[in-house]
Amino acid sequence: MSVLVIADHDNKEISPATLNTVAAASQIGGDVVVAVLGSGCDTAANAAAAIVGVSKVLKVDNAALASGLAENVAPVIVSLAADYSHVLAPASTYGKNVLPRAAALLDVQQISEISGVVDADTFERPIYAGNAIATVKSSDAVKLITVRATKFDAAADQGGSASVEAVELGADAGLSSFVAVHETKSDRPELTSAGVVVSGGRGMAAKENFALLDALADKLGAAVGASRAAVDSGYAPNDYQVGQTGKVVAPDVYIAIGISGAIQHLAGMKDSKTIVAINTDPEAPIFQVADYGLVADLFDAVPELTEAL
């Protein structure tokens, strides 16, 4: 048995979620091999080789793989998959985009966003926005799986000494092309791996008011998130969204500000170690999951809190 992990990376750095995916692979058992599919991806491949628990890194360096287009990446995964019992990828937008395409080409029913490993064929995964947990057993010869990062402790990113093997694969399918990426610039920690997250909801009332959260986040060294209501209202960019259809986070401390606590938002943050909520409405569902709640007007409480910390 051996497990192939498809790394999520930007040709330089390996994403934090890849480390959690390696941890899930280690739980399944057998050798763990990481594939770095990219272009000019030496740095990323070397970073993968340093992850503890990785026995080998396969580097596929091809211009067609530069921006991770699924039509070009999936056939490479298919070529590599023959040697493995399992192929795993983080349930990031990259993993979600490429892995089902590879699964269909392999005629495999993928298992999405596993939250636990029972045995080599059997996995737990949340359904209905995390309101139920299904345990499913696969009968496919090779298992294709995306991993919910917050459910597995990250493998150490230093201390491993895997060999890096270059593999010649990859071609441009000619179906799609990359145009541009518009990254949300931030000096703050990445939302899904931050130790503290400060999130704002509909109660923030305007885009400008997110500056209050920025100040609090800066004080705490925290990432800033948002509920779907806040993103839909244009108060925050899409990549801030925490919830069933956005990002899933599980920081040490999650501070929900002006967020009522819709089911689909709770799905994205209820595994946080400590949940703090500030809301004017004492009946808001968020208080049913919060460890510490404060019923107050956020426009008074947040600046005061920033001062007090």
Binding site: A70, S92, T93, K96, N97, L99, P100, R101, A102, A103, A104, D107, V108, Q109, Q110, I111, S112, E113, P126, Y128, A129, N131, A132, I133, A134, T135, V136, K137, S139, D140, L175, S176, S177, V179, A180, V181, H182, T184, L220, D232, P237, N238, D239, Q244, T245, D252, V253, I263, K270, K273, T274, V276, V289, A290, Y292, L294, A301, L305, A308, L309
Partner: protein, 247 residues
């Protein structure tokens, strides 16, 4: 151009689901069912394209029990021209759904398939990507903007780091994200009219697709619940608690 839109009948997003006591699944009897909200966005987008003169026909397709006809009638009431129900009693997995949609897309010679990025019941987020692979078409997932020009579609995708612009050639399979549009409500006259629009019924067998599941469900359980904590009385107390939790 012809557009095919996949719509799934799911438990309404406002319903608090209940896990069956025997662990076999989620209670669906007597529960309000609706169109998967992401699929509503897909239907709306297809209609927008048609209304702007970019398509001649919008066909809605659903795979599920006879009751899925209701979901298709909703799509027709929104404005789809006709509908196809692929009847099935089983819980059809995404791979089999993709195979069925491939057969329908080929039969109908469509140029574009629109689906929601995920269904809110099993949260798999697979069908569009799988369909695109099986058709060997281009793929655009999690899209928040689109514009058709010169045999290609310029897309904006919602990705972890922000937004990404790509261009995909037609024919294509697109999976839609929340911010693409606001789905319309069907008006009463349109609901009445939808009752008379054509709705064909076929089976997965007649399309040559084996829907036998690859995954067996061992059990379905409720997640561990979180106990509500305490309400603090002041900002100072809250600051103290936060500092303690940060360790």
């Amino acid at each position: 151009m012809k557009i095919l839109v996949g719509v799934k009948r799911v438990i309404d997003y406002n319903v608090s689901i209940r896990v069956k006591s025997d662990g076999s699944g989620v209670e669906k009897d007597g529960v309000k069912m609706s169109m998967n909200p992401f699929d509503e966005i897909a239907v709306e987008q297809a209609l927008k394209i048609k209304e702007a003169g970019g398509a001649d026909e919008v066909i809605a397709v659903s795979i599920g029990p006879a009751k899925a006809e209701d979901t298709l009638r909703t799509a027709l009431a929104m404005g789809a021209d006709r509908a196809i129900l692929v009847e099935s009693t089983d819980e059809v997995e995404p791979l089999a759904v993709a195979k069925i949609l491939k057969a329908v897309a080929e039969q109908e010679s469509v140029d574009m398939v629109l689906v929601g990025k995920q269904a809110i019941d099993d949260d798999s987020n697979q069908t569009g990507q799988m369909l695109s692979a099986l058709l060997n078409w281009s793929q655009g997932t999690f899209i928040s903007e689109m514009e058709i020009k010169d045999g290609a579609v310029a897309l904006t995708r919602e990705i972890d780091g922000g937004l990404e612009d790509i261009s995909v050639k037609l024919p294509t399979v697109l999976t839609v994200d929340l911010r693409l549009n606001e789905p319309r409500y069907a008006s009463l006259p349109n609901i009445m009219k939808a009752k008379k629009k054509p709705l064909d019924k076929v089976t997965a067998d007649s399309l040559g697709v084996d829907t036998a599941p690859r995954l067996s469900v061992v059990n379905v359980v409720e997640p561990p619940t979180r106990e509500a904590g305490i309400v603090v009385s002041s900002v100072a107390e809250l600051a103290e608690k936060i500092n303690a939790a940060r360790g």
